[in-house]
């Protein structure tokens, strides 16, 4: 117990990133994730790292591009409108096959929206928010402990597959405080023979670039990249199942929505409804197989989201629309209550026998 500290989700991300060997942070303040930058501003100078508040989100992501190209662990963080600004840079980082961590602590949108929590950047995070054919590894924590653990995981996956990873949280996750144990990571030096870090006269120049003059080559690079994506879909799916063994109905929710849903599922069980929860931890790769298998057992699904219904499309695709999928949602910074989710479960149980 004494190894635990009381942290905000945002602080847990920052400290875990440092533990994972990240020594370079570039960002620009925006509510509700500013504590990440504030924490980095205090800690980085003490450990020989770089904290730099850039003049804009666009600058920050391009600084990430540069440091990633030099082969160092690097991150940026922002909230929804700021993440939109970073999309061009993210696409370039993908195009140059570089690892980096991008944290999005989401708030209500579209536009300037509001500062309250939201999950309405799901499409942007999982379908490619910038231009071109690409994916981001997208991890969705549901506790302050997971904010820390998945930050470290995201760095490892990004290095392993040479691509950017995104940690997709929301304002409540960033601001809430919980006991957390920051893991001591033995940072294994990752071999990065592609990094532009000086030839020392011993090898050819490495070039970091996303421009291809010959379409045949660009096509080949795209096909190769998607072979890596196929490996990730086969090997890196993460999810949590709760009370699914005998479930007749299945709630699907991630992040803060899954916490609310868990309480609703527990209550529904008390009232005699056999319902369970599947919580995707990786939003990409999406846990398609587990949902498809569940669709052969349950009578229907409820997608609980802090958006107008985005993940629901992936639930339908994963299950080939074998069973009805209904939406239970709030938007614009509002959060569904356990009672709302419970009502939704009861309605589904009444309508789909």
């Amino acid at each position: 117990m004494t190894d635990k500290v009381l942290m905000k989700g945002n602080e847990a991300i920052a400290e875990a990133a440092i533990k994972a060997g990240c020594r370079h942070y570039f960002g620009y303040p925006i509510t509700p994730q500013t504590e990440i930058a504030a924490y980095m501003a205090k800690r980085m100078p003490k450990i020989g790292g770089t904290f730099l508040q850039a003049e804009s989100e666009v600058s920050a992501i391009n600084m990430v591009y540069g440091v990633a190209g030099a082969g160092y662990r690097v991150m940026t963080s922002s909230s929804s409108p700021g993440i939109s600004l970073k999309q061009e840079g993210i696409s370039y980082i993908v195009g140059a096959d570089l690892p980096a961590l991008i944290v999005n602590v989401q708030r209500g949108g579209p536009g300037l929206g509001g500062i309250q929590p939201s999950q309405s950047d799901y499409f942007q995070a999982t379908k490619g928010g910038g231009h071109g054919d690409y994916r981001l590894i997208c991890l969705a924590p549901a506790s302050v402990q997971e904010m820390a653990d998945l930050t470290i995981k995201a760095f490892d996956l990004a290095d392993k597959y040479r691509m950017p990873a995104m940690l997709l949280a929301d304002g409540t996750m960033g601001q809430m405080m919980e006991p957390v144990s920051i893991p001591e990571v033995t940072a294994k030096p990752v071999d990065k023979p592609w990094a532009a870090n000086g030839t020392k006269g011993e090898r050819k120049h490495n070039i970091i670039n996303s421009l291809y003059l010959k379409p045949e080559i660009l096509e080949k690079v795209n096909f190769e990249r998607f072979e890596r994506y196929a490996q990730i879909e086969a090997n890196e799916v993460m999810y949590e199942e709760y009370m699914m063994d005998d479930a007749e109905y299945c709630v699907v929710a991630f992040g803060i929505a899954s916490r609310v849903s868990k309480n609703a599922v527990t209550e529904a069980r008390k009232q005699g409804i056999k319902v369970g929860l599947i919580r995707p931890i990786t939003l990409w790769p999406f846990p398609k197989d587990v949902l498809n298998a569940a669709a052969d057992k349950v009578k229907g699904f409820i997608s609980v989201e802090l958006s107008m219904g985005q993940m629901i499309e992936d639930v339908r695709l994963a299950t080939n629309c074998k069973k009805p999928v209904v939406l239970c949602n709030r938007a614009g910074g509002m959060i569904p209550s356990p009672e709302q989710v419970l009502d939704s479960i009861k309605n589904l149980a009444k309508e789909v026998k």
Binding site: M1, V5, T31, P32, G113, T172, Q175
Partner: protein, 224 residues
Amino acid sequence: MIKNYKRVYILAGHYGSGKTNIAVNLALKIKKDGYPVNIADLDIVNPYFRTKDSLKELEEAGIRLISPTYANTNVDLPALPQEVYALVQQKSAKAVFDVGGDDRGAYALGRYAPYILEENDYEMCFVVNFFRPLTRTAEDALTVMREIELASGIKFTAIINNSNVGALTDREAVLSTVSEVEKLSSLSGLSVILTTVSQNLLPHFNGLDVFPLELQQKYYDIKE
């Protein structure tokens, strides 16, 4: 427990150390002991988790809450209402200031510091939780203390030990911070006027002088 109340209580400290919870509970206690009391939310830094979350409870107890006009809305505008002056000017009522975290949050207090210093009947309380990662030691806490004093223009006069690890807090955890808070006390020359524990842990602190806190239950706390 506090015996003779000062006219003004100011709660400041590292962000996330529990200032708002203590401010609300202290105001309720002062009111319960028979004094009229006003409470002001001076937090212009963090737009989440505010005094205003306890608005209903405070109103029902007959406590006036003065909070930024746009608190708990989507407007992230760091502006304080003129009504905050009621706390320094209405001397017939006790006053509780809930100050924003760190030195950045404490700048707002500077606006009211001359009035508070002139009246000279205040307790400037440093709220500390030794389970917060950036205030794990007395030395780190002292640094935060000095930064806040510089920003606010008021020197601390007392320490409140609010050390807790959220839901994992037990007697052992609270008592494990006693040596650190005593060290902070000797480094700063200030006495520890309160040690807080959440209401549900009170039976484990028999015979010890602790200040019980009613904590807000959040809808996303997982009920196991």
